[in-house]
Subunit: 159 residues, 2 copies
């Protein structure tokens, strides 16, 4: 498990220092509850995961990720129809800070976001975003992955 404390931003431009390695992520939601509980299937390269997250504070969530078999993934995947997305993840490490840069595909093409995880809420609050980041979208419903997966791009957004 992890207590996940994170902030999320739109990306203005991807810095040259980004890691060349790319991870293809495909994910679908089994549940996305009004109480803030999310149950997600994810294929990360050749790894299959079932993750459960629930909210404990504004920027903090408990996250438990369980490795599952490809067979179990295949059995559960049909239940995520209408709530799926694909993205390519690249990683940038800068000043001991890891940025996960996600480039979305299909209906979400053009959307690029960056997530930064922190060790504490105070660390998260003190973070000063570098200039290549755009507007902050932490906690913005329309930009949550499960909302993007179900509803598509926010209306009025030009990517």
């Amino acid at each position: 498990m992890a207590l996940e404390i994170e902030r999320k931003f739109l990306v203005d431009h991807i810095p040259a220092a980004v890691d060349g390695a790319r991870l293809e992520l495909e994910q679908g939601y089994l549940a996305a509850d009004a109480n803030g509980i999310e149950v997600r299937l994810r294929r990360s390269g050749s790894e299959f995961l079932l993750g459960v997250k629930y909210k404990v504070a504004a920027m903090s969530r408990v996250e438990v990720e369980l490795p599952i078999g490809e067979e179990e993934f295949g059995e559960l995947w049909p239940a995520t129809v209408g709530a799926r997305l694909c993205k390519t993840r690249r990683t940038l490490t800068c000043d001991d800070q890891v940025f996960y840069i996600d480039d979305y595909h299909n209906d979400l093409a053009g959307l690029v976001t960056a997530e930064i995880e922190f060790g504490s809420e105070s660390e998260a609050e003190e973070f000063r975003p570098p200039s290549w980041l755009g507007p902050e979208i932490t906690g913005v419903e329309a930009y949550k992955n499960r909302t993007l997966a179900q509803a598509g791009l926010p209306v009025g957004v030009t990517t």
Copy 2:
């Protein structure tokens, strides 16, 4: 995984032939979706499970159960507050048919149900309930475990 095809009944009286072994089940729901997807945590004796079920036909559901660690169970259990129940399960095997007899506790005390699983929908349809079973509650929303866990006993039911 299993394709779970089952029928469920109230129990009029528990037959003498019931297995003496008892299993204490404690379960809580992480999600119970309008689309029929359920995500359940269960402690079964000293076993910990995360189960996902989704509906594929009137009496059929796909069910995947993942063994999880006690630590993961402990991390996720707080998210099930307000959606929990306890029951004691006994098993009766009769004419190659297995009956799971569940005796509910706490707010649900007095409720006793039996579940019977089948190998096919036609087998399920041909099943003739023995006299110790009461009214059928297959698919009845108020008697689903997740509804019982969240809403308690159906109004007007005397157990």
